[in-house]
Point group: C2
Chain length 328, copies 2
């Protein structure tokens, strides 16, 4: 890091992993106009298309202070944009980790963002879900209590003491993308492929739906995953089917915010993660479980990296990484 928090960058670049050609047949011909006022030309939608790829954008520092990069895996219905500029216009976690000395690999998982998506029902078996503002506000992201959403910002209510900048909600919602409920296996395969591609090993930082992918990736490649950091994972491996003993060499950090007992999705989702935590502990693994409000850090939404105190939460993660000797 230079003066003024500048960073010296070796390379910004990207790649896809996991794509394969698949063939579509039997679709009717169409006609398309490709540009305003341009000619009409015929389109045959039949033939090979590419399916199942995941996108990764990396920023490599000239002189990283960590041996292994940090992989940043977003949650459901979102993309890697979650780690970029916060909704209220501050530097996001990608910059925080770059400034701390990590090379960053921010991905868009299969079906989302720059990873693209494939036709349904031909390639994906079902139609996607589009996030409604109400669902984001009242349920997944816990910005306000059930029944508090309103299309008119002046009539919306947020949780008392909320750290998320409620006035920037539309900015945050702009980061949403459609999601499917049928692509977990395709996504896990692509993430596992990504892990194998990074020969130094990697630290995996996940949010929400990314949590299960990260915890599972560590089980699959405990020699490659140097640590797993799970921000409010919405799921976890099943200890009756997976052996947490494989993870003795992989430190785990879990971080949780507020209002979890007021939202049905979280009431039902968290026990699976607690069960996995307990299994990791019983197997003698290195587990840190942080409830932020218990530490006096209150008002945290599900979007921990987008809340007003995002820098303070990032600092907790960075301190933990130093204690694990993963950052100089």
């Amino acid at each position: 890091m230079t003066k003024h928090n500048h960073i010296v960058v070796r390379e910004i670049g990207s790649f896809h992993v996991g794509g394969h050609l698949t063939r579509l047949d039997g679709l009717p011909l169409r006609e398309r106009v490709s540009t305003t006022g341009g000619p009409v030309h015929p389109i045959d939608p039949n033939g090979e298309i590419i399916v199942g790829q995941l996108y990764v954008q990396y920023v490599r520092l000239a002189e990283p202070r960590a041996d292994a990069p940090i992989l940043m895996w977003h949650g459901g219905g979102m993309t890697g944009v979650n780690w970029e500029t916060t909704p209220d216009g501050r530097s996001g976690w990608q910059m925080a980790f770059l400034r701390a000395g990590f090379d960053t690999y921010v991905s868009d998982a299969v079906e989302r963002g720059r990873a693209s998506w494939a036709p349904f029902p031909q390639a994906y078996p079902e139609a996607p879900y589009f996030r409604t503002a109400k669902e984001a506000w009242e349920e997944t992201f816990r910005f306000g209590p059930v029944g508090s959403w309103h299309a008119d910002p002046a009539q919306r209510r947020s949780h008392p003491g909320l750290n998320f900048p409620a006035e920037c909600f539309e900015t945050f919602l702009s980061q949403s993308v459609p999601r499917w409920g049928c692509n977990d296996a395709l996504t896990q395969t692509a993430y596992d492929t990504l892990i194998q591609r990074i020969e130094t090993g990697a630290i995996v930082l996940t949010h929400s739906q990314g949590g299960n992918f990260g915890l599972t990736a560590a089980l699959t490649a405990p020699d490659r995953v140097r640590a797993v950091i799970s921000l409010e994972p919405s799921g976890a491996p099943d200890p009756t089917r997976q052996d947490p003993g494989r993870l003795k060499g992989v430190p785990h950090l879990f971080i949780w915010g507020d209002y979890l007992d007021q939202h049905s999705f979280w009431v039902h989702a968290r026990p699976a993660v607690e069960r996995w935590r307990d299994a990791l502990n019983a197997a003698g693994c290195d587990v840190t479980w942080i409830n932020l409000p218990a530490q006096g850090i209150t008002g945290n939404s599900h979007a921990l990296m987008c809340d007003r105190n995002s820098d303070a939460v990032a600092a907790i993660v960075l301190d933990w990484l130093r204690t694990k000797n993963l950052l100089a």
Copy 2:
């Protein structure tokens, strides 16, 4: 730029422009499993969703050598990834322009990549097109003659002397995203909004379908657009409806590759651009029109920034910008 081609970066970040809430009604309830093994929870797809936003990722240098940033606008069925690492793994044009001293603003247009897309037929009137490998190979990108595509790489034929790395075709195809034929107005509005957001003014660099958006953005805001660089635009404004005289202060550069007369799409698309060029010239505007093969640079596909000689073509653009006093 420091030694080893490193760059000193002030900030990497992003934002969306142009999104607005729109309401969906009358859709049936669904049930969703959000993570492998997780609980089933009900989803109401009705309510407000966000539509029409465009994504922009910027990299701001500590000490840019240009007064205005360069905006990089991809073509149809693609995203800003086109400007990143080339299919054969070299630094792409984003890095080339950063190393030359420009702040870069790489966008994903409405409906694509990190801009997201909206449901059809509720928000968009029609279904999208998925790019087939055959269409990419034989038509839009002109990698091989009509009839030369084969799913087996060993049986594909490319144009003799082609500069695109044909062995990396699947890597390139992984960058594809679905496209619609109905969103030009929404996209133009978002791009025009982006232009207004950058107070220094901006240089607009476009590829293919991005061409018409860039040329039109200059007409709308000739005070803000400092130059327009169009790599093989697939369309252009209509001089019987638009006044090219507004553009006397905006230098224009057009660059074209090879094989254009062998592919029906291009035979039909290019005359509109030539007509606009002629109108710009007749109005006394500053127009540079480069046919690369006429300069002895041959084998160029439509993916000029992804071909093996991408650095050489970038250098032509950078030299032109210097002659226009837009780069020190």
